[in-house]
């Protein structure tokens, strides 16, 4: 037992130090590509830290979204920056910016240290263990329709927050589409390895997403994790040169993108029309309704993440000549 505790301590200390070191390296790395790779590593370590804190749901989300998809988005942005640099020859200017950034500035550093010390003191002054609302959650878990407390909070007790979060994701995509220019021609044929890999992996990823969605009702998992895995499948397909056919790039794509928010809005209207409160599921059917909402949300999240990776609005000549 003693040895095990010691092992845990050693592991946690190494993990903490590793996180700090990686964070510092990400911020100070002069090379953008290096910084992105380090950031992905940081995300994976962070996921481990969540596991150690007994928060497997957050760990899954951190690994899939924080490390995986954010990393992919950053790499996509990096690739685009390089084409811009080539076209406009602003590499020299970027170089200058880098040098300026690296010079150490005393005032911000002192200020940040003071803030960090104050916040550190505050966090240490907090009671070590706060029950929060966990007692209330477990008391009401039975009538929520699912047995995983995280899913119960996200889809039932605070389903309204999740509805708004779905809209946040949609808005992010709208924002990206409204400023992205015309699609860059990227018709590089994939190598044989990438091609085979994506053929093998895509079905597996879709299956994993479906499993995560299903298992979310009673164990760590759920719409956001499943959506992230689905998004990863989309990214893989996009990387191997696959593009949505132009018949589907218009309204059909948009319908899938808004399926999650629309399902929530429809559910809200349904619950209010049947005499309940806003998003008050009938107790007997709560589990089924939650699964329905989560399925729609997973499709939207996955598609939105893949669309964010692509960046440009898929071309549809009929709508925007």
């Amino acid at each position: 037992m003693e040895a095990l505790t010691l092992l845990h301590w050693t592991f946690d200390i190494l993990l903490g130090l590793g996180l700090l070191w990686l964070g510092w390296r990400v911020l100070t790395s002069p090379d953008l590509f290096n910084a992105i790779v380090l950031f992905v590593a940081f995300g994976l370590l962070m996921a481990l830290a969540w596991v150690r804190l007994d928060a497997p749901d957050i760990a899954l989300a951190e690994a899939a979204i924080g490390a995986g998809l954010t990393g992919a988005l950053l790499l996509a942005a990096f690739a685009k920056l390089r084409t811009v640099e080539k076209n406009h020859d602003i590499a020299g200017q970027l170089e200058k910016g880098k040098l300026e950034n690296r010079s150490f500035q005393w005032w911000p550093a002192t200020f940040l240290l003071v803030v960090a010390a104050g916040l550190g003191h505050t966090v240490l002054s907090l009671p070590h263990y706060a029950t929060g609302l966990s007692a209330e959650v477990s008391a009401n878990l039975k009538s929520s329709g699912v047995s995983n407390p995280v899913t119960a909070v996200l889809l039932n007790f605070r389903g309204y927050d999740t509805l708004l979060e779905m809209v946040v994701l949609l808005l992010a995509l709208l924002g990206v589409w409204s400023i992205s220019g015309s699609a860059l021609p990227r018709e590089a044929a994939p190598g044989p390895i990438l091609d085979t890999l994506s053929r093998l992996l895509t079905p597996v990823l879709i299956l994993v997403a479906a499993y995560l969605l299903w298992v979310g009702a009673h164990a760590p998992g759920g719409a956001f994790q499943a959506g992230a895995v689905l998004g990863a499948a989309g990214v893989l397909l996009l990387l191997s040169g696959w593009r949505l056919s132009s018949h589907l790039a218009g309204l059909p794509l948009r319908i899938i993108l808004v399926a999650g928010p629309v399902a929530f809005v429809a559910m809200a209207v349904f619950t209010m029309l049947t005499g309940g409160q806003f998003l008050e599921y009938p107790r007997a059917e709560a589990g089924t309704l939650i699964l329905f909402l989560e399925t729609a949300a997973t499709l939207s999240i996955g598609t939105t993440l893949a669309a964010l990776f692509l960046g440009e609005r898929p071309k549809n000549k009929r709508e925007y000549p």
């Binding site: 708004l164 808005l171 809005v265 809200a268 998003l279 008050e280």
Partner: protein
């Protein structure tokens, strides 16, 4: 009819309606303009429904999902929420009418979904009674605002939007940190429950600091206003109007709500600090506005200055609560109307002449009389001349300051008005005179001129509506009970 009106839960309608409208605009871009206008008009009607409901039944409360706080989220609306919702719907409708002619084809397809989702976010924000839910609405609002600010494209707009995005995210994260501290310390995220449970402790002070800094950053109070002028000045005119008139008010409303319910009783000199920063904002913003050579930047810096007035209320509220808070509420409402009118008028000038250099305005009065009139009327309210909403707000503020012998604040309020007169007359002066260079001009649709004029006229009209508006705001006693009545 009455029974039907009170049976519908208007608060939920106010959130779902623009949400559904925004999604519909996204799905059917060709019909975006019509769908958008219809949705905004329906929101305006729903706000009247909610107002009627609140007037008859008192405070509106709705337990989402049938769980009550603290487990679930409650919607809540009193007079203050109603005022913000009404301001949003009114100004939003005016700007929508303007935008229907401003944005064409592809631009319209981009603008309408984002604007309707922004409207949903604002309504959700003003109806929320939960600090975490407020964070989500804040994030939604910020993201929509940034997307709108970037709509113009090009170097300036993208740079400004990027700065706006970073400031906005930093603000949200600081706020979220505060939420985490409050939840850990007191086991609830419902504002009313926190109000009962919170007591002075390091965690509460840290939460106050983090949430205040985050929200001040988003409200662009001096010296955290650095992101506002570039973002507001480089956006398309209706977007600048939305950002200046409504979006900065969203974060201010959260700060005001938290202060009234949770942090105010803690004391500790934070109100004095807010007053000082407000003073700084009034002086710095006005002086910067006077220095500008471009009209849009002038109007943007005027926003920086006017935000300062909202914060003058904090130090005055300690012993003249109702008067000072009523002043702030009135200033928020009249600034929303007047500033929207000013930005829309500026948009007309920009479209007409193709530029917004103040020195080359070249007899705008003769060529765009309605626009010039809108600008001047809005200017009257911004300066605080009678009769206007701005006058009522500043008068209440002066009253609160005079009863406490705060001559320092009295002089700041008056000086701010004089400086505002300086920058407004600078513009009007150039609008009357012949410029050295004459230029090509482009037709401005009548609807765009009338939208600006009617909003400005609303700001003036508020000068006559002080007592009904203030009695409406008083429903549910959002400002507490106080000894002085206006």
């Amino acid at each position: 009819m009455g029974a039907l009106l009170s049976e519908i839960s208007w608060g939920v309608v106010l959130i779902l309606l623009p949400l559904a409208g925004g999604i519909a605009c996204f799905l059917f871009p060709r019909a975006a303009k019509v769908l958008g206008l219809v949705s905004v008009f329906a929101v305006l009607l729903s706000v009247s429904g909610l107002g009627w409901n609140i007037k008859v039944n008192g405070i509106y409360r709705h337990a989402i999902g049938g769980w009550n706080a603290p487990l679930g989220i409650d919607l809540y609306a009193d007079g203050l929420s109603l005022l913000m919702l009404a301001a949003t719907a009114l100004v939003g409708f005016g700007i929508s009418v303007y935008s229907a002619d401003y944005f064409e084809r592809e631009d319209a397809a981009r603008f309408w979904p984002i604007w309707l989702l922004l409207l949903a976010a604002l309504n959700a924000l003003f109806l929320s009674a939960d600090v975490f839910n407020l964070y989500v609405t804040l994030e939604l609002m910020g993201l929509a605002a940034v997307a709108l600010a970037a709509l113009a494209g090009g170097r300036d707009a993208l740079g400004g939007a990027m700065r706006y995005l970073l400031a906005s995210l930093l603000g949200s994260l600081a706020y979220l940190f505060g939420v985490a501290l409050l939840y850990h310390g007191f086991g609830s995220m419902d504002i009313a429950m926190l109000a009962v449970r919170v007591e002075a402790s390091p965690a509460v002070w840290a939460a106050l600091g983090l949430m205040s800094v985050g929200l001040l950053l988003k409200t662009a109070l001096f010296p955290l206003h650095f992101w506002l002028p570039p973002a507001h000045a480089s956006a398309p005119a209706p977007v600048s109007a939305l950002l200046s008139a409504l979006v900065v008010k969203g974060s201010f409303y959260i700060l005001l709500r938290l202060w009234l319910e949770i942090f105010g009783p803690l004391g500790g000199g934070v109100d004095t600090l807010f007053g000082l920063l407000g003073t700084g904002a009034i002086l710095w913003g006005s002086l910067q506005a006077l220095r500008q050579t471009r009209l849009k930047l002038l109007v943007a810096y005027s926003t920086v200055a006017q935000i300062g007035y909202f914060f003058i209320s904090f130090p005055l509220a300690a012993s003249a609560g109702v008067t000072a808070w009523s002043a702030a509420a009135y200033l928020v409402l009249s600034h929303a109307l007047a500033k929207a009118a000013m930005f829309l008028a500026t948009g007309n000038v920009l479209r007409f002449g193709g530029h917004d250099r103040i020195a080359d305005l070249d007899r705008v009065v003769q060529r765009l009389p309605l626009t010039a009139c809108a600008f001047a009327l809005a200017g009257v309210s911004i300066m605080g001349l009678p009769p206007s909403g701005g006058f009522v707000g500043k008068w209440l503020l002066l009253q609160a300051a005079l009863t406490q012998d705060r001559w320092d604040l009295v002089s700041v309020i008056i000086l701010g008005g004089v400086l505002a007169a300086g920058y407004v007359f600078k513009v009007i002066g150039h609008a009357f005179t012949l410029a050295d260079i004459s230029h090509e001009s482009r037709e401005v649709p009548a609807k765009m001129e009338w939208a600006a004029l009617l909003l400005a006229f609303g700001a003036i009209l508020l000068g006559f509506l002080a007592s009904p508006v203030l009695s409406l705001v008083g429903i549910g006693v959002p400002f507490g009970v106080s000894e002085v009545s206006p």
